[in-house]
């Protein structure tokens, strides 16, 4: 435990020092603020459910940005340190490889959580300060959105580690990471949509569709946030899909947890067998 905490603390310290955290928080806050205030133009400033609109737009932002940021900080975690020669020294210390990986994971999650809470929180707090009426239900949905955004980040951090232990060079890791991002964020949904259009509901049942959606963590996130709360789903235009997909929030959260734990465990296993 102590070693995991030490490595996590070092990871956070380094990211604070090289201004990673600052850059990430600023980026998320700037985008969230602009979406909140520019994005509310079509609904007008008297919109009764201002925060719900923000949830819709921020969720869509998260699906693009958080996986990218998570892969950016994680793809180089192992292969980068190995290439720079710092891993060899670290592993000569009384610390196991599993502890190294978990410590980094905890540190990276903490950095991402800090940036998300602060960046998105700024937008919500500013919105409340401008006098928009926000009820408790909206606040809960917003908190849920932040929580699941961090979970989505965890998924892609774990996937990034898996990439990082599988390749031999940093450049390869970066290329694979971009490929994975494109696959989950862009290609998968387009392909699925294409298949659904061609199929016209003849062979793909709603059960199959649910299973297919679980294969993509960003879709799981989308279902959780855009189709979850009734108010939000009305705005997001996802209520139709939400009706067709028979998956409760508990199942969706479990899916995200599985998407985190499986790549993380695989990465730990491969890393501990790898010869340096």
């Amino acid at each position: 435990m102590r070693n995991i905490a030490l490595i996590a603390a070092k990871e956070i310290q380094e990211s604070l020092r090289n201004r990673w955290v600052l850059a990430m928080t600023a980026l998320l806050a700037a985008l969230a603020l602009s979406l909140t205030f520019l994005g509310s133009a079509p609904t007008g400033t008297v919109g009764a459910r201002a925060l719900d609109i923000v949830i819709v737009s921020l969720s869509s932002l998260t699906i693009f940005l958080v996986p990218l940021v998570a892969l950016l900080i994680s793809h180089d975690a192992i292969v980068g340190e190995t290439e720079r020669g710092t891993m060899l020294l670290l592993l000569s210390y009384p610390v196991s490889r599993g502890q190294v990986l978990l410590g980094k994971f905890v540190g990276h999650i903490a950095i991402l959580a800090f940036a998300t809470v602060l960046g998105y929180g700024t937008a919500a707090v500013t919105l409340a300060a401008t006098g928009a009426a926000i009820d408790a239900e909206s606040w809960t949905a917003f908190a849920g959105m932040i929580g699941t955004s961090i979970l989505l980040g965890a998924v892609f951090i774990a996937i990034g580690y898996l990439i990082s232990v599988l390749v031999r060079e940093r450049a390869t890791a970066a290329g694979v990471a971009i490929g994975v991002w494109l696959l989950f964020v862009v290609v998968f949904d387009m392909a699925l949509l294409g298949v659904l259009v061609v199929d016209q509901g003849r062979t793909i049942s709603s059960g199959t569709l649910s299973a297919l959606l679980l294969l993509n963590p960003t879709d799981v996130y989308r279902l959780l946030n855009l189709a979850g709360a009734t108010n939000v789903s009305a705005f997001s235009g996802m209520s139709g899909l939400a009706g067709a997909v028979a998956l409760g929030p508990a199942k969706l959260l479990c899916a995200l947890a599985a998407w985190t734990l499986v790549p993380l465990a695989a990465a730990a296993m491969i890393f501990s067998r790898r010869e340096l």
Binding site: L6, E14, N18, R84, P94
Partner: protein
């Protein structure tokens, strides 16, 4: 008390490449050992085997009586390692990095100041490692290896690329370590760089152990000829040459210097005969085979 390190018939293969082939040796407490070989001879592989970062394909390695690859915490706390071309995260300061490593070894961070002082980095402690020179990084690498007074230190090419002053300081620290009973392994690709500071030399070539012993023992085994150099007074050249007898390897230089290669058994006789020449000679030097020649001899011997 068993040996501190026991390497027994260790072979390490990477695919078809045999990095280390059937190497055996023991290291005893308090020894300073040089591990010498060309680049790619298997030195780093041997060090990684002793660290437990890789496992032997055949044979076994024991450090402090345990298998280092099993990841025993106790073993690693008593071990210091300086990798070849050591590197650190450049965003942190020297003190921060040492504090991190000290905590990983469950050591108090109070000793850091003294360690930084010892390697001459006290003034740079609060500066980022990004601003350090190569020599300063090497000093920091040495400092982290010394954390927790380890009983076994593995230095991989520690003096490569260091200036002579720094190299002297480095060997001072090594002799302090020896005095307090630590075992030190220094690897190098040139024997001369070790400046006869190690009591034992292990030479590896192409993954095989080709020599293991003290420098004197190696010299005896190698039976390399020493060079006897005689400075001859004006006009005495011929006489002295006759005195020394017909030597195959005799060489004369600009009429007043003679050099003869002599095996250890011939040496005394040659010097005696030269001394008989009395006033005809001005000076006699006996030059023992250099470390480079000794090293080259063992590498040649191994070549197929």
């Amino acid at each position: 008390m068993t040996s501190l390190v026991e390497v027994s018939h260790a072979t390490k293969r990477y695919g078809a490449i045999e990095a280390v082939r059937d190497i055996s040796f023991m290291l005893e407490p308090g020894q300073t050992v040089a591990l010498v070989g060309h680049n790619g001879a298997g030195k780093t592989t041997l060090i990684k085997l002793m660290l437990g970062l890789i496992r032997a394909t055949e044979g076994h390695v024991r450090v402090f009586g345990e298998d280092p690859a099993a990841g025993g915490i106790g073993t690693r706390r008593r071990l210091g390692y300086l990798p070849e071309s050591v590197s650190f995260n450049t965003a942190l300061t020297g003190r921060e990095v040492l504090a991190f490593y000290a905590r990983l070894k469950s050591e108090s961070v109070d000793g850091i100041r003294a360690l930084l002082d010892r390697v001459g980095l006290a003034k740079a402690a609060e500066r980022r490692i990004g601003t350090y020179s190569k020599g300063m990084r090497q000093r920091l690498g040495l400092a982290q290896a010394l954390i927790g007074r380890p009983r076994l230190l593995l230095f991989d090419e520690p003096t490569t690329g260091l200036d002579p002053g720094l190299r002297m300081e480095f060997y001072e620290i090594v002799s302090e370590l020896r005095e307090r009973g630590a075992t030190v392994v220094l690897s190098s690709h040139v024997l001369t760089e070790l400046e006869e500071r190690t009591e034992r030399v292990i030479i590896v070539n192409r993954g095989r152990l080709v020599a293991d012993g003290t420098l004197d023992e190696l010299r005896r085994i190698a039976e390399l000829p020493a060079t006897v150099r005689v400075s001859v007074a004006q006009g005495g050249m011929e006489k002295v040459q006759n005195l020394l007898g017909a030597q195959a390897s005799i060489r004369t230089f600009n009429g007043h210097r003679i050099e003869v290669d002599a095996t250890p058994s011939q040496k005394i006789d040659l010097v005696r005969r030269a001394a008989d020449a009395g006033d005809l000679i001005e000076d006699i030097d006996v030059i023992p085979p250099s470390l480079d020649e000794l090293y080259a001899h063992f590498l040649r011997k191994e070549a197929p």
